[in-house]
């Protein structure tokens, strides 16, 4: 429940000014790593090669994780970089001139020191605790383990669940408190995202921001649609300027910046050209991209939707009038509800998708056999035929996994075709019902697409009409859905015979909703794993 307005206004009336304490941390070795990584990412994203773009996006995920979380400087950092390949091969393949080696060298140097940002954060938390100031930490859900590992339970008061805020909704529901801690720059979406309301509608006395040097806050952060955008750099130590033709909210800030550490190779003044959040703002992969909102589901992974789209969903609250409805993402569609993917036609959910797909059963069995007999052999064949994925072995092992909410399979159609060809499946013997004139691999690929929820997205059968019919059918299945919703965070229900649609519904419980993604059209309304989705986060 949102906090009562009286307590917020009471807080604001008692605090003429709020304050920002910004700690800017510099580090020579981390600075070297940042520069090398940024250089590689920029180089790879300029390439027209899809694989280069994919690697650049994966490196971007690593870099922004380090910049927005209090990560430990340990062996995982050089290991993560090393996973992209052997230095000589990698640099030769992508035309690099020592940047990759430099990144590895800098990462190795890091392991000998403690992350100064982490140390500062620990000190700040302990000071706040000692002073008895109630504080909260705003961070991305995935960054939480880095904060959890920060304090030693035996000597610190542990940071519990109530201390963390992960979304606008969390912030809206929290009563006024003393200090808000934030690692990384203030940005409205993507990496390091935090609600504009923390500046335009504070409910805490002090914002303590710990940030790597050279990372500026987003211009205009703290946006209030009524007043002009606030520019942090321009509006130091006073209230945001309002348009002369509006009345502003009179929230004013006192700012203090403390700098520590040094990075001799970094420019002293802030340079947008060296700010990773500025130069690597968008993911690098080619093709048309559109903004998207991410709905994280309880079983892991999530689905991207166009912002403000209406989603077929189920509200499990017992007293709700309309449990099934089209709800607006972020407005009426909220956590604890279920998104419903409608799988129409083509697939017999009753007997097939509850366990495996019809085609996936066959190719996965064959793939499993190959992996047991000669795993290196099948991987080599795939690689030689053009499946140029990093960690190919891991990927293939993942494809062997039985279906859960989706059929685990290659992301790209061309890779899937190569896989099926490599497995030499007897298409004639295994394809008795091919009435559509498609090849075996195409039908198997369609099965995967459908499992990823693309049927409706394709709009072939008329999106609105299908959803309306789906709503009618779902209403009849209410008691069954309620029962399953209590027992499980993800489940399937087949459409009974005799209805206007055939197929079934897949329910996924929502655990978080997050804006700030840029994705290609084909990734919309498809279940994807978290690591894949991370690549499309804006910075």
């Amino acid at each position: 429940m949102p906090t009562a307005a009286s307590s917020i206004f009471d807080f604001l009336s008692r605090h003429e000014n709020c304050s920002v304490q910004r700690y800017e941390i510099a580090s020579a070795s981390f600075g070297a790593l940042r520069r090398a990584m940024a250089s590689i990412i920029r180089h790879l994203r300029e390439s027209q090669d899809h694989d280069a773009n994919e690697i650049s996006d994966q490196m971007r995920v690593l870099l922004f994780t380090w910049l927005t979380s209090p990560v430990e400087f340990n062996a995982t950092i050089p290991e993560a970089i090393q996973s992209f390949g052997e230095p000589t091969v990698f640099e030769m393949r992508w035309g690099l001139r020592g940047e990759y080696r430099e990144a590895l060298r800098a990462a190795a140097n890091l392991t000998s020191e403690e992350n100064p940002l982490r140390a500062k954060l620990r000190t700040v938390i302990r000071e706040l605790r000692a002073a008895g100031i109630p504080s909260k930490i705003f961070c991305h859900r995935k960054a939480r383990p880095h904060f959890d590992s920060l304090l030693v339970p035996s000597s610190d008061v542990c940071v519990d669940e109530s201390c963390f805020l992960h979304s606008v909704r969390d912030y809206n529901n929290t009563p006024p408190f003393g200090a808000l801690l934030k690692v990384g720059p203030l940005r409205s979406a993507g990496w390091g995202a935090v609600p504009d309301a923390v500046m335009s509608a504070p409910r805490f006395e002090t914002l303590i921001q710990i940030v790597w040097s050279g990372c500026a806050d987003e211009p205009g952060f703290g946006y209030d649609p009524v007043t002009s955008p606030m520019n942090h750099a321009a509006n130091q130590n006073h209230a945001p300027a309002a348009h002369h033709d509006t009345l502003g909210n009179n929230v004013s800030w006192l700012r203090n910046i403390t700098r520590s550490g040094e990075d001799p190779l970094a420019t002293i003044e802030y340079t947008p050209g060296e700010d990773e959040f500025y130069i690597l703002r968008e993911p690098g992969q080619q093709g048309g991209r559109r903004p998207a909102t991410f709905v994280e589901i309880a079983e892991g992974g999530g689905i991207l939707y166009p912002p403000n789209s209406m989603i077929l969903s189920f509200d499990p609250a017992p007293d709700i009038k309309l449990p099934f409805a089209l709800r607006q993402i972020g407005e009426t569609l909220t956590t604890e509800m279920f998104v419903i993917l409608t799988h129409v036609g083509d697939v017999d959910f009753g007997n097939v998708l509850a366990s495996e797909g019809r085609y996936s059963l066959i190719w996965k069995q064959q793939l499993n056999e190959e992996m047991q007999i000669n795993p290196d052999g099948i991987c080599r064949i795939l690689q030689n035929n053009g499946v140029s994925l990093l960690s190919l072995r891991t990927c293939v092992e993942n494809w062997c996994q039985p279906s859960t909410t989706v059929i685990h399979a290659p992301q790209q159609k061309k890779h899937f075709k190569i896989l099926i060809e490599a497995l030499s499946i007897d298409a004639v013997a295994n394809d008795k019902n091919n009435s559509a004139g498609l090849t075996w691999w195409q039908r198997a690929w369609n099965e995967i697409r459908i499992s990823r929820g693309e049927a409706i997205q394709a709009g072939v059968q008329g999106h609105e009409v299908v959803e309306q019919q789906a709503l009618n059918i779902l209403t009849k299945l209410l008691s069954d859905v309620r029962r399953k919703a209590i027992a499980s965070a993800g489940f399937r229900i087949a459409i009974p015979n005799g209805e206007e649609l055939s197929g079934g519904f897949v329910f996924h419980k929502i655990i978080a909703i997050e804006e700030g993604y840029l994705v290609s059209e084909t990734e919309i309304r498809v279940v994807r794993d978290l690591n894949t989705v991370e690549q499309w986060r804006m910075s």
């Binding site: 307005a5 307590s7 206004f9 009336s13 409910r203 002369h244 033709d245 509006t246 972020g330 009426t332």
Partner: protein, 340 residues
């Protein structure tokens, strides 16, 4: 008068609540005036829109023209025409946006009488629009005719509030509103009459969400307690038989009454505000949008784009200057139609 939005905690009406009620009360109504669009940005989620609406509603209680009695007969005829010529012959489940019939809400043809409120009557196809003669049938098949607005005032559309009560039973009590203002002017006949000139556009989640939010704010004048949802007199939200505020449901995109012509719409939330701004039926209405800033940037920007001065609307600095000092956390922008 005390106020509470935290269960069990009462306080004198705080300045931010008083500011919002007064804003609604002082909003220019009636007469020749430029159309205005205002956006009020709040620091937190609240029923602020309801507070503005209740202020505007009390203001209307003093206006002798603020009633649905005038023009009621025309409204019934329009309703009957819609039923007989469009809705009755239509073979679709009511979906005006797909059908493109030009209507926003289905006319079921059902009428009620304030004398026999538990029974419905169906508009008859013997209604003569040229002669302005409205006919409806009793269950027995008997036809009743009406020729005059005076007679028609006893009849109203099923599912909507009656235009005027003939008895004091169910009329609005002015007691609840006295504590909100020093000396509110109330015309006694308005307490028995409904009004559709003021509209409250609820939350995107629909009517129950909007009502629940308004119910979280309560007033106490030492004699009785009143929740904000009751004070708003939206049809079906209180025991009062008259309704002084029409309700627009942004989820279903339907008004709670037919052919309502609202001169002021108060929209609760960003989605509601954006929908109201784009609706043809509110194209001439003043609009006050109330949002809170605890939403994502995209949503804030969508709302911000609507309140930028343009070739038709300019900033209304005069009106802004008239406002008292804003409570910290609230910001306001007002646009008014150019050339007036």
């Amino acid at each position: 008068m005390d106020f509470s939005d935290i269960p069990g905690e009462w306080q004198p009406i705080p300045s931010w609540v008083r500011f919002l009620i007064n804003l609604g009360y002082g909003w220019p109504r009636g007469g020749p005036k430029p159309r205005r669009i205002a956006l009020i940005s709040m620091p937190c989620d609240s029923a602020a829109a309801g507070l503005i609406a209740v202020g505007a509603m009390v203001r209307d209680l003093a206006d002798p023209r603020a009633n649905d009695v005038d023009g009621h007969y025309d409204k019934l005829l329009l309703y009957a025409r819609q039923f007989l010529e469009s809705c009755d012959p239509c073979d679709m489940k009511c979906q005006p946006e797909i059908r493109h019939c030009g209507y926003t809400k289905q006319a079921t043809g059902k009428l009620r009488s304030i004398r026999i409120p538990r029974q419905t009557f169906l508009v008859s196809n013997r209604t003569d629009f040229a002669e302005r003669k409205l006919a409806w049938t009793y269950r027995s098949g008997m036809i009743e005719w009406t020729y005059t607005p005076q007679h028609a005032i006893k009849w109203y559309i099923d599912g909507e509030p009656p235009p005027e009560l003939n008895e004091t039973d169910g009329e609005l009590s002015s007691e609840a509103y006295k504590g909100l203002f020093d000396q509110p002017i109330v015309l006694l006949e308005n307490l028995r009459r409904s009004y559709s000139g003021l509209c409250f556009a609820g939350r995107a989640g629909g009517e129950s969400v909007s009502r629940e939010l308004c119910a979280s704010m309560r007033f106490n004048n030492g004699i009785a307690e009143y929740s904000l949802d009751e004070l708003l007199t939206i049809h079906g939200w209180s025991e009062c038989n008259v309704s002084r505020i029409a309700f627009f449901n942004p989820r279903t995109e339907k008004l709670d009454r037919s052919n309502a012509s609202s001169n002021l719409v108060i929209a609760d939330g960003d989605t509601s505000f954006l929908k109201v701004c784009d609706r043809a039926e509110f194209a001439a209405s003043d609009i006050i949008g109330v949002i809170h800033r605890n939403v994502e940037r995209d949503r804030l920007e969508a709302v911000g784009a609507k309140i930028l001065p343009n070739q038709w609307m300019s900033a209304d600095t005069d009106k802004l200057c008239e406002l008292p000092t804003l409570p910290r956390g609230i910001s306001i922008a007002i646009l008014k139609e150019r050339g007036m």
